[in-house]
Each structure stands twice: as structure tokens, then as C-alpha cells.
């Protein structure tokens, strides 16, 4: 399933609406009732106002979303941060000693702007593929491609809570996209996410309907 939209808010609302209407209901491994669509692809054509879904979530005042600075730090911090089980930044910039961004993606795209090899992997089978491990990265990889002079990114997400999680995921994706685009001197293109499990949890249905009714 492919959903396209001009900005993050439009794409987010379309995706939520699709899941609420057509999502398959079942009980997940944490015993929560969810609605799920498998293999959902979302494309933000112009990543302006990428923070809008987060601002909408914060307007509820019922909860507090992680601050932008914290989300940004989570993806751009090159070191492990002791307060989290893992952080995407350490996986991107120091994956078993390999800096996938500064030592690979950036020089490669500078050298060959038609490359199809600019991939960052976040999932580490050595650490994450254990039955006993409770928390493993949802964001598996990012793929960067320069086309028509713009840097486009696709994030592959294995398990994606589309209400609470996706707004942060696209912001994280944007932060890394922006970092790389500045380094190689290109414009920012599209942001695409591919969620193998795009879902929402029943305790969020009321809030989702409120978002969908926002003008």
C-alpha cells in the first residue's frame, strides 16, 4: 500500500485513517488489541513542517512527547546514551566501530551521486537477535539516493506505532537526512517510510479520531 502526500501532517492523517478503516484487528504479543496493515509505504514529497504531527500530539496535553532536542540527540549522538537500551545515533555512527555515516555514506555519495549502495543499518543481529532481548530497534535501515539533484531517504521500520511512533521516526529520519544533505551539499528530497507492521493500539483510538477530525 502506498500513500503519498505533500507534507508530514497530510501523510500521517491519511495513514491513520487507512489503518482505522481497513486495519486488521488482532491481539499482539503484549496482549494489546491493535489494528494493523502490513507493508505500508508512506511518501512525504516535501518535508516541510516535519514537526507538525509532534506538535499535534503535544496539543493534547494528556501526555508529553519527547522534546525535539531529545529525538534529534537520539539519532545524531555518536555515543551510546546510558539512559536508553540503545540509540540510533550510536548504531549509525559507531556500529561495532564502523561510522556508517561519516566514513561511508557521505564520501560515497560525494564520489558517486548515482550510487544505490548508501545504506545505514541500525539492527545488529549479534546484539538484537536473542529471544530474551526485550527491546530491539524498530528502525532497521535507512537508504539514501540522490536523484534529480536531491537527496531522498527511505526508512525501513519493522514495527511502527503509527500514532505515537511515526511522528518521531520521520523526525529522526529528517535529522539524519539533513545532516548528510548538508555535508554533501545537496537539497533535501522526499522522505519515505516502509513499515512492515503499521499499527495503532486500541487505547489510542479516541485520540486518533480526534486527530482525524482536526481541520
Amino acid at each position: 500500500m502506498l500513500i503519498k502526500g505533500k507534507d508530514a501532517e497530510e501523510v500521517w492523517k491519511k495513514a491513520l485513517n487507512e489503518i482505522m478503516e481497513k486495519g486488521e484487528e488482532h491481539i499482539d504479543n503484549r496482549n494489546r488489541q491493535i489494528k494493523e496493515i502490513m507493508n505500508m509505504q508512506l511518501e512525504i514529497q516535501a518535508p516541510n513542517e516535519i514537526e507538525k504531527p509532534i506538535e499535534i500530539l503535544n496539543s493534547f496535553e494528556k501526555w508529553k512527547y519527547p522534546p525535539f532536542e531529545e529525538i534529534k540527540n537520539f539519532i545524531l549522538s555518536k555515543k551510546n546514551i546510558s539512559g536508553y537500551y540503545y540509540n540510533y545515533g550510536a548504531r549509525a555512527f559507531n556500529f561495532n566501530g564502523k561510522n556508517q555515516v561519516d566514513d561511508y555514506i557521505i564520501p560515497m555519495l560525494k564520489k558517486n551521486d548515482t550510487s544505490k549502495r548508501a545504506v545505514i543499518i541500525f539492527y545488529n543481529p549479534t546484539e538484537d537477535s536473542h529471544f530474551t532481548r526485550k527491546d530491539t530497534p524498530g528502525l532497521i535501515q535507512m537508504d539514501f539516493k540522490i536523484r534529480k539533484g536531491k537527496l531522498n531517504v527511505t526508512s525501513i521500520i519493522r514495527s511502527n506505532n503509527m500514532f505515537f511512533g511515526w511522528p518521531a521516526n520521520i523526525f529522526q529520519t529528517y535529522c539524519l537526512l539533513d545532516y548528510i544533505a548538508k555535508e554533501i551539499g545537496t537539497e533535501i528530497g522526499t522522505i519515505t517510510t516502509f513499515s512492515t507492521s503499521a499499527h495503532v493500539i486500541n487505547e489510542q483510538y479516541d485520540a486518533i479520531n480526534k486527530v482525524l477530525n482536526l481541520k
Partner: protein, 520 residues
């Protein structure tokens, strides 16, 4: 805001380290550096004149620094070698950054952590514990002796911990190194704890003490010290097995007018200890003991419930709203602390197999003072119901936040626990309102009225998942046998995981009378 104050903030914001008054001056006053150089090169008479001018500049900048400290934008970090003060921004990285189509203007105000409890703080109803280090220090941590080879290693870890904690440190299984600990080491620990303003807890499994003579010799010394306290972990069988030893411990404590702290290990096997602000424990069934050091509490907020009652009465809805605002505030503080944890706690993070382990079980505290327990004119059931409702709301909030963070891929822990506050925790608390209950003999513990009151304590101990301390105050002549029998009844009959006997009131040759009260 004055231009100089804005410049101070700007310099500190761009600095990776804390800065001294001189360093701040060098950065914002171009003439200062020149004068510093001139004072070295010039004649003695001229030098005196320049020094006066430099001193004037120092006084001027200190005036502005103090204003910023009072506004809680800055805080003093340390004194340098020559006694010079070093300063840092209380929040170093709250500035906005540029987003597409949005360029937010930075202002000095954004550097202060604005919390939805400030209105209550102005009324002295809600207070941050140690506001100056509310974010960049933990309240408490536990050092696990089992993971150390000798006591000297523990002392080294303790030294590192003084810088990152603003209340209490617990050394679990202290008895492990009993053979190698000497009085001098204990005195040094106490001196440092005094200097750094910390409480050190030695948590001792009474059942593991084999060399009674050596222990009692050391314990006599410990019980004379003010910044070290002992927590004895035991069950009813160990109490009977170590009856004689415990009698001697009681006598030593009584002679020094000190407190006997007891953890019922049948009810709680995890560390349970005390700080200036109140008790601490882990709200878990079990914790991984394969670590050397664990953060226990991150940030605490103290609520003077009596002040809330005076303004709002027993209004559950308003109380729950307040709890929600406190929860939001703790979450904001946590967010920054977590982001900066590698910097704040770097000295201890590598002591565990994984850096994440250090804060894996930590929590935040809401501490209640004067919450109406046994207070004349206050409906006990309504109070308990109010706290219960607040706890439900707070649990839901913590759950939602963990779901949000997990959904963002940012798996972390956010937990809030309730506990009581000690009177010593902070200034400006309302006078204690609780009514002490009197127990004259062990038999009193079986009386219907007392049983009901102890059941209330049980309920409070259940609600206060961050720890509760039920205190008994023996008065009159010391009867160790009688007190140990009272302890046995409490261990066997009540779900009170932690309680204490305060011997501060023992005196004269009177009949034994015990008071107990919830430390409120």
C-alpha cells in the same frame, strides 16, 4: 534582562565546561585581559591601581552572576584551587534549533526549565528537592558489595559517587568486608559524607554476621557518627538466632541516642535505605544483582499536603491534577538528565557491564509531607482514597510515556514512586501535624484499635512504593528484651517492610513506653 547577564548566559551556553568568574570576565570584558597582562608588566604602584580596577570588575560581574543564580538560571558548581567560584547554566541545552520553515528566537528565558509546578512552588506547597542539582545529580544510588573484591574498591566508588548524588548512598551487604574494615576508614567516610552533605547507609544482613566481637567494636564507632547510618536486614528467624547480638546493638544505639533501622527481608529483599529527604527503595520484585552500582532515585519533588488541604480541602480532582503537573515536571527533568547522563554520571557508568544498566531501575519521587495520617479533623479514608486516585493517574501517565518513548524507538524507563518526606528534607515545610500513637507493652500490638492503626500503616507502605518508614519511639528505661519482642510481632504480623526504633527519647528509670508514628 541586563546586557551583562545575557552575555554571561551566552558565554556559558557556548562553553563545554564550567567557567570561573575570571574566565567569564575574560570572555565578556575585553579590557579585563589587557589589565591582567598589565598588572604583571607594570610598576608596583601602578599595579596596585590596576588590581583595584580588576577587583571592581569582579564585584560587578559577581553581582550579575548572583542575580542569575537567584533566578535559577545559573548555579555554582565548585570552588577552584584558589577559592574562585565556578558556574554553569542550570539547563545547558534547552535552546531551540532550526527546523524547516521555523526559526525560533532564542531568549535567555528559554534556558530555565519552565515547569508546570512553579505556581505551587511560589506558595511553598510544592518544592524541588535540592533545586540547584535537581537535574544533573541523582538523589541516591546503591553500591553492591558483592561485585567488589575489597573494601578499598568500594571506598573509591564511594568517592566517585559523592559528585553525582545529592542525598544518599547505600552500601548493600556491607558485612561482606567486615574483616578488613577499620575504624579509620569509617571515620574518613563519615568526614567526606559530612563535607559533601550526604548520608551513607551501611545495609547489613544480620544473619551473615559471624564475628560478633569485631562487628560490635566497629558498630560502636559507627553509631557515634552522624552521616553514616546502618540498616539491618532480617527476618523473624534471624531475630531469634541473633537475639543476643541484637540486644547489644540496641544498647549501643540507646547509649548514643540513635535509631535502629530494620528491613523485613521477608517482605522486601531489595535495598531499602534512608536519606535526608526520606526513605528509598526499588519498586521492583527483583533486580539484577550482577551490577556494581545502580541509580535508585533521579529527581524528587516534595509536596506539603497540609498546605494543599488549607487551600483546596480534600478535593481529589484538584489533588490528581496537581499530581499530573508534578509528573510532567519530573518527565521534563528526566528527559534532560537522560540526554546528558553520559556527561553527568560518566565517572560511574563504566563500573557496570553495560552503561545502560546504571539507570535501568531508577525512579523519580513524589514525597508527601503532612498528608493527614492520624491528623485530628482529617478523614483518614478520604486521604487514602485521594492518594490512591493520584497514584492511578500517575501510573497511567508513566505507562503512556513509556509507550510513547518505546514507539519512538527510544526505549527507556520512566517511573514515579510515592514516598514520605522527612522533616529535614527541606525548609519551609508546615509544622508536623501527625498525632503519635502510644504503645506501652507488646500486648498493645494485639489491641483492636492499635491493629487498625497499624493496618493503615500497611496501606500507606503499599501506596508508598518508593519506601515508607514507620517509626517507634521507646521512652524510659531501656528493656532490650521487650523491644525485640515487639519487633518480632511486627515482623510476623504486619506487612510493614521497613520500620525503625528511635532511641533519642530513652532516659531515666521509668517504665518502658513506646510511641510509634509514621514519619510524616
Amino acid at each position: 534582562m541586563h546586557k551583562t547577564q545575557q552575555e554571561i548566559i551566552s558565554v556559558l551556553e557556548n562553553s563545554e565546561t564550567d567557567l570561573s568568574t575570571s574566565q567569564l570576565l575574560s570572555n565578556i570584558d575585553s579590557e579585563y585581559k589587557t589589565l591582567k597582562q598589565e598588572v604583571k608588566d607594570t610598576s608596583k604602584e601602578k599595579s596596585k591601581e590596576i588590581k583595584l580596577s580588576l577587583a571592581k570588575k569582579h564585584r560587578k560581574i559577581l553581582h550579575h552572576i548572583n542575580k542569575l543564580v537567584n533566578q535559577r538560571l545559573l548555579r555554582q558548581i565548585k570552588h577552584g584551587d584558589k577559592g574562585e567560584k565556578f558556574f554553569a547554566l542550570i539547563i545547558g541545552d534547552e535552546q531551540e534549533f532550526e527546523l524547516p520553515n521555523i526559526i525560533k528566537k532564542k531568549s535567555a528565558k528559554e534556558h530555565a526549565l519552565s515547569l508546570p509546578i512553579e505556581g505551587y512552588e511560589q506558595k511553598n506547597m510544592v518544592m524541588r528537592y535540592e533545586p540547584g542539582t535537581f537535574i544533573d545529580r541523582l538523589n541516591s544510588l546503591v553500591i553492591f558489595s558483592k561485585k567488589f573484591k575489597n573494601f578499598k574498591e568500594i571506598i573509591k566508588t564511594l568517592d566517585k559517587s559523592f559528585n553525582i548524588v545529592n542525598d544518599a548512598i547505600c552500601i548493600e551487604d556491607f558485612e561482606k568486608f567486615l574483616d578488613e574494615i577499620n575504624e579509620e576508614q569509617i571515620t574518613t567516610i563519615n568526614k567526606k559524607a559530612e563535607d559533601y552533605g550526604k548520608i551513607i547507609n551501611f545495609s547489613i544482613n544480620i544473619g551473615n554476621i559471624n564475628d560478633k566481637t569485631k562487628f560490635l567494636q566497629l558498630f560502636k564507632k559507627i553509631s557515634q557518627l552522624n552521616n553514616i547510618q546502618t540498616i539491618f536486614s532480617l527476618d523473624s528467624i534471624e531475630l531469634q538466632e541473633k537475639f543476643t547480638l541484637l540486644e547489644k546493638i540496641l544498647t549501643i544505639l540507646s547509649n548514643n541516642k540513635k535509631v535502629l533501622n530494620l528491613k523485613n527481608k521477608t517482605l522486601n529483599k531489595l535495598p531499602y535505605f534512608l536519606g535526608r529527604s526520606g526513605p528509598y527503595t526499588f519498586n521492583e520484585k527483583e533486580i539484577n544483582q550482577e551490577v556494581s552500582i545502580l541509580a535508585c532515585s533521579q529527581s524528587s519533588i516534595i509536596l506539603d499536603v497540609n498546605k494543599f488541604f488549607l487551600i483546596n480541602g480534600l478535593n481529589t480532582e484538584k489533588f490528581v491534577d496537581l499530581m499530573f503537573n508534578i509528573s510532567l515536571s519530573l518527565l521534563s527533568a528526566n528527559s534532560i538528565q537522560r540526554r546528558k547522563s553520559n556527561e553527568y554520571f560518566k565517572e560511574v557508568l563504566n563500573l557496570n557491564p553495560e552503561e545502560y544498566d546504571f539507570m535501568r531501575k531508577s525512579s523519580n519521587y513524589i514525597r508527601f509531607w503532612n498528608y493527614g495520617l492520624n491528623q485530628p479533623g482529617i478523614n483518614q479514608e478520604l486521604v487514602l482514597n485521594m492518594i490512591n486516585e493520584a497514584k492511578k493517574k500517575m501510573k497511567q501517565f508513566s505507562h503512556d510515556e513509556e509507550v510513547i518513548y518505546k514507539s519512538c524507538g527510544m526505549t527507556t524507563r520512566f517511573s514515579i514512586d510515592f514516598s514520605c518526606a522527612f522533616e529535614s528534607s527541606i525548609d519551609n515545610l508546615s509544622p508536623a501535624k501527625y498525632q503519635p500513637l502510644e504503645i506501652k507493652t507488646t500486648e498493645d500490638l494485639y489491641k483492636k484499635e492499635i491493629k487498625k492503626k497499624l493496618k493503615d500503616r500497611e496501606e500507606i507502605s503499599e501506596l508508598f512504593s518508593g519506601g515508607n518508614d514507620v517509626s517507634f519511639y521507646p521512652t524510659g528505661r531501656l528493656d532490650t528484651n521487650e523491644i525485640l519482642r515487639e519487633i518480632l510481632v511486627i515482623l510476623n504480623s504486619y506487612k510493614i517492610p521497613f520500620f525503625s526504633f528511635d532511641f533519642g527519647k530513652i532516659k531515666g528509670d521509668l517504665k518502658l513506653t513506646s510511641f510509634f508514628e509514621n514519619v510524616n
